[in-house]
């Protein structure tokens, strides 16, 4: 029996394997978990529809990310941004407040909130590189920008996040030193 799988099977497996990663990316793009849910669903359906476009079964994760981002930019973003402005939706920091103690949860919530408050271009880059582990050049290809742009976006993001972390670290030290 051949172990060769067809492109539809490959896409179904990729959807199973990478759905959490796509969801995180969708969350970073949209800033709302319910939009992320819909975005992941739409992404996976679209990927399945286009399985015949798959020429290589490698790196289907980045292909899914590309589809997700395309759907976000072309089909979802405008109405989600309008909704966010209308309702002043704040990033759902409680999503990450599941740590073993309050200190960890406060820190996690703060990092989460700061990342979600980054400009969209920095946010999606941080998510791909810092969280998902794509190299700079992979992220550059995925987002269709030069590597230098990726690196400068990350530098800007680091600068903002560093102050948060230093502040949090100082606060934690202060609280524990009481």
């Amino acid at each position: 029996m051949s172990t060769k799988i067809n492109s539809e099977q490959a896409v179904r497996r990729a959807v199973q394997a990478h759905s959490r990663r796509v969801w995180r990316f969708a969350l970073a793009l949209s800033g709302a978990s319910d939009v992320a849910d819909d975005l992941v669903q739409a992404t996976c359906l679209r990927a399945l529809e286009r399985h015949h476009q798959v020429t290589s079964h490698d790196r289907l994760d980045s292909w899914l990310m590309t589809i997700c981002r395309s759907i976000w930019l072309n089909e979802v973003r405008a109405r989600s941004v309008r909704r966010a402005q209308a309702l002043s939706v704040t990033p759902e920091a409680d999503l990450v407040a599941s740590g073993p103690d309050a200190e960890t949860n406060i820190f996690a919530s703060e990092v989460f909130t700061q990342v979600m408050h980054l400009p969209e271009a920095q946010r999606e880059t941080v998510m791909l590189v810092f969280v998902e582990g794509y190299s700079y050049r992979e992220a550059a290809a995925l987002l269709e920008v030069p590597i230098g742009t990726i690196m400068s976006r990350l530098s800007n993001a680091r600068r903002k996040l560093k102050t948060v972390m230093q502040h949090e670290a100082a606060g934690a030290a202060q609280r524990s030193g009481k």
Binding site: V111, R137, A157, R158
Partner: protein
């Protein structure tokens, strides 16, 4: 460009000036190994990764349509089966009988006629008038009714409009002196149809004679394979030759 870890850390810490930053970025762009070193030294990335890696707590529920059922071996079987069907169909096509012409079809139909079929027909002059009017109108030419009524030993029973591949086909049925069916058929084949000399054949167990002239096809059908069509054929060919 040789870049030390200290320089990379300074870049990541945001303490290099603009020119130094651009130089580092240019170096990384052309050096995947340097890129990997820088990524490994990044102090912020692991913290962000740690926070977001927990998300989402549950694997997203994705609703995908079911795959097509015929997969793997089943699909191979299906392909083999359809190939076999195609081969069989091709064999039938290659060995198929020649497409049946109007004469063969008309002969099959006529062969089903029994004496009772025509004995039961209503052949009043008024009805025949109506049948001939309709048949001649469909056919686009006269059916020389006087000639048909004057055929020796035959009683005109009915003119019926049939159709073969969209062409009007008129069947005129007679009863001979024994009450056996006898038929004369005319089909409009169109002006491009070639003339054909008379041809005798036994079709569906009936003695037939067919010919074609001026866009019309004609056929005389006797009762049984041994029927002698000579007398009627001569009269009809003469009558319909103009």
């Amino acid at each position: 460009m040789k870049v030390s870890d200290d320089t990379l850390l300074a870049y990541l810490d945001g303490t290099l000036d603009e020119d130094q930053c651009r130089a580092i970025e240019a170096a990384v762009e052309g050096d995947a190994e340097l890129e990997q070193r820088m990524m490994a030294l990044d102090p912020i990335a692991p913290m962000v990764q740690q926070v977001f890696d927990k998300l989402p707590s549950d694997v997203p529920v994705i609703d995908l349509p079911e795959p097509a059922r015929a997969g793997g071996v089943l699909r191979l079987v299906a392909v083999a089966a359809s190939a076999a069907i195609a081969a069989i169909a091709l064999t039938f096509w290659a060995t198929r009988p020649a497409p049946m012409g109007w004469a063969e079809q008309a002969a099959i139909y006529q062969s089903l006629y029994a004496p009772e079929t025509i004995a039961a027909l209503d052949s009043t002059p008024a009805l025949l008038d109506a049948q001939f009017a309709q048949a001649e109108q469909r056919l686009g030419r006269s059916l020389n009714r006087e000639t048909l009524e004057g055929l020796p030993g035959l009683e005109l029973k009915r003119a019926q409009v049939l159709s073969f591949k969209g062409k009007p086909l008129i069947q005129i049925v007679f009863a001979d002196e024994q009450g056996q069916p006898f038929a004369f058929c005319v089909i409009r084949q169109g002006p491009a149809a070639p003339n054909r000399d008379v041809k005798h054949a036994v079709l569906s167990g009936l003695a037939t004679a067919t010919w074609a002239q001026d866009g019309y096809g004609y056929m005389v059908l006797g009762d049984g394979a041994q029927a002698d069509l000579g007398g009627e054929l001569d009269v009809l060919m003469q009558s319909f030759s103009g």
